[in-house]
């Protein structure tokens, strides 16, 4: 996962900027609806559960479980060093994120395993929220 120069990095929009600036500060920020309390990810203009215009940014615990994963051997682009593992993580708050699973040998990866966020600085502006096996079970 080290040689990643040239991979397509996020270009934050007005809508997504709070998430990416949070990542820069080591906080996993997600939108929560003040009306229905639902957690909304990826960033949206209104709540995707109840349509209320009542989303606020809150910090996620950054802890969750591995929902699904795939170890990739044919890279999207040559800048991605193979093999790498793409994952869906289910956060404690109930929302799902696409991410990379790092710091885990492929033979030890299991659906359901506890994971926690690990921010990897990619540029001045962008730190990517990857996930690794949890140090202590949550």
């Amino acid at each position: 996962m080290s040689a990643r120069r040239g991979i397509p990095l996020p270009r934050p929009t007005r809508l997504s900027e709070p998430h990416w600036s949070g990542c820069r500060e080591g906080r996993l920020r997600v939108q929560r609806c003040r009306e229905c309390r639902g957690y909304v990810f990826i960033p949206q203009p209104v709540c995707t559960f109840c349509t209320a215009d009542a989303l606020e940014w809150v910090d996620s615990s950054g802890r969750g479980t591995l929902y699904s994963f795939t170890t990739v051997h044919r890279p999207q682009r040559p800048e991605f060093e193979v093999p790498y593992t793409v994952a869906i993580v289910e956060l404690e708050e109930g929302f799902h994120m696409l991410t990379n699973l790092v710091g885990c040998p492929p033979e030890q990866m299991r659906v359901g395993m506890p994971v926690e966020v690990e921010f990897r600085r990619m540029s001045e502006e962008i730190s990517l929220p990857m996930f690794r096996p949890a140090a202590t079970p949550s």
């Binding site: 990826i42 795939t70 990739v72 051997h73 044919r74 999207q76 682009r77 869906i88």
Partner: protein, 385 residues
């Protein structure tokens, strides 16, 4: 019998140009025009002068229906913009409501995939929450497959059985890009890994080519010297932004169930009435999922359902008899239309004899899958409902 305005419309011509990994210097516009002429030539009597509706498209050239109407003489015509099953439903609605009588739909792609160091351009996402993880279409569908394997114990051998079965259909189809290339399930499992659990032979091929389809009023179809194929039912199902939202099995695993229910209700049929499935096959697992979503078997039983030759020609439910995206062709968005074309060709007896299912009356086809958060379905038949 349940009625639907779709029953007023018939497919009377279906045609594929030559399909190949690359077609060299062929222009897309020529592929589109060949698709139009080829499809009309198989209608048993219709010519360009009969066509009063168009939906023509080229991926790289960005040819669209209004430009194509100009190329074809600029006469007043209805034009459609949709792709695949959606395009057929759009055209059928135009015919059934009297906006036009005869529509040609054609789509082609050539010259799109040139950077072979990266995956195909249409598989690479641009979204800020997707691209940075190295995701692309195979990985999206792999995330769906892996969750199913975890929940239900679905085995890699079941995926390999699907891939080998479909690829062997293509191997017997002289028009398929992979004609002559028979594979065993062991070959699939031994091929290199792409995105686990998918091996290379679990994945759709890349190719170029064109495809055309002619629809007309069912009462006119009777007067033509051809075997009409009737639209029995169809529906769209879209759940969100493909390749942006995480493909979470709990939310999207049964994508297409709602649309299938709508399509079956339009003609009073059930999965047990379906003779052949020309389902979307971008990756082997997607067939297992669709058999569950559409009600051919219970949730979690798709892996067992596909074993033992059931889905091969000669089995109880021949599936993707043309060779599909795994062997016949995957020519950009033309592949969506080619699902309907394969269905029509099967019912008209236009596929090679070895792939023709004797007595087939009802075919189910689909576009899109769970990894893409959409699944459109259509039912076609030899008998007008």
């Amino acid at each position: 019998m349940t009625r639907s305005a779709l029953h007023e419309v018939a497919i009377v011509g279906a045609y594929n140009t030559r399909q190949a990994k690359t077609l060299g210097d062929v222009r897309e516009v020529d592929l589109v025009l060949e698709s139009v002429r080829g499809a009309l030539a198989r209608s048993g009597g219709l010519g360009l002068d009969d066509v009063d509706g168009l939906n023509l498209r080229g991926t790289v050239s960005r040819l669209h229906a209004r430009e194509a109407a100009h190329l074809l003489g600029g006469r007043p015509r209805w034009t459609g913009m949709a792709l695949g099953i959606e395009a057929v439903l759009e055209a059928a609605a135009a015919i059934a409501t009297g906006q036009c009588d005869t529509v040609v739909i054609a789509d082609a792609q050539a010259g799109q995939y040139t950077d072979r160091a990266a995956t195909s351009p249409w598989t690479r996402p641009g979204n800020e929450f997707v691209a940075c993880w190295g995701l692309y279409t195979a990985a999206e569908f792999a995330l769906i497959a892996r969750r199913h394997m975890h929940l239900y114990g679905t085995r890699p051998e079941a995926l390999a059985e699907v891939a080998a079965s479909i690829r062997n259909h293509g191997a017997s189809n002289p028009e398929a890009v992979h004609y002559g290339r028979h594979v065993t399930p062991q070959d699939v499992l031994a091929s290199r890994l792409v995105a686990e659990p998918f091996h290379l032979l679990d994945c759709a091929i890349n190719s170029e080519g064109g495809a055309g389809l002619v629809l007309t009023r069912a009462d006119r179809a009777r007067d033509l010297d051809c075997t009409p194929v009737y639209l029995l039912g169809g529906a769209l199902e879209r759940q969100g932004m493909a390749y942006v939202t995480a493909p979470v099995w709990d939310r999207y695993g049964l994508s297409g169930r709602w649309a299938a229910g709508r399509a079956f209700a339009q003609c009073g049929l059930a999965p047990s009435d379906v003779d052949v499935c020309e389902l979307y096959d971008p990756f082997s697992f997607e067939l297992i999922r669709q058999f569950e979503a559409f009600g051919f078997c219970a949730e979690g039983e798709g892996g067992d359902f596909v074993m033992g030759g059931r889905i091969a020609v000669g089995g109880a439910l021949p599936t993707v008899t043309s060779g599909g995206l795994l062997s016949f062709s995957h020519a950009g968005t033309a592949q969506l239309l080619q699902k309907v074309i394969a269905s029509a060709q099967q019912l008209r007896g236009e596929l090679p004899e070895a792939l023709t299912v004797p007595g087939a009356n009802v075919v189910m086809t689909s576009n899109g899958g769970a990894g893409a958060l959409f699944c459109d379905v259509m039912l076609l038949g030899r008998e007008r409902p």
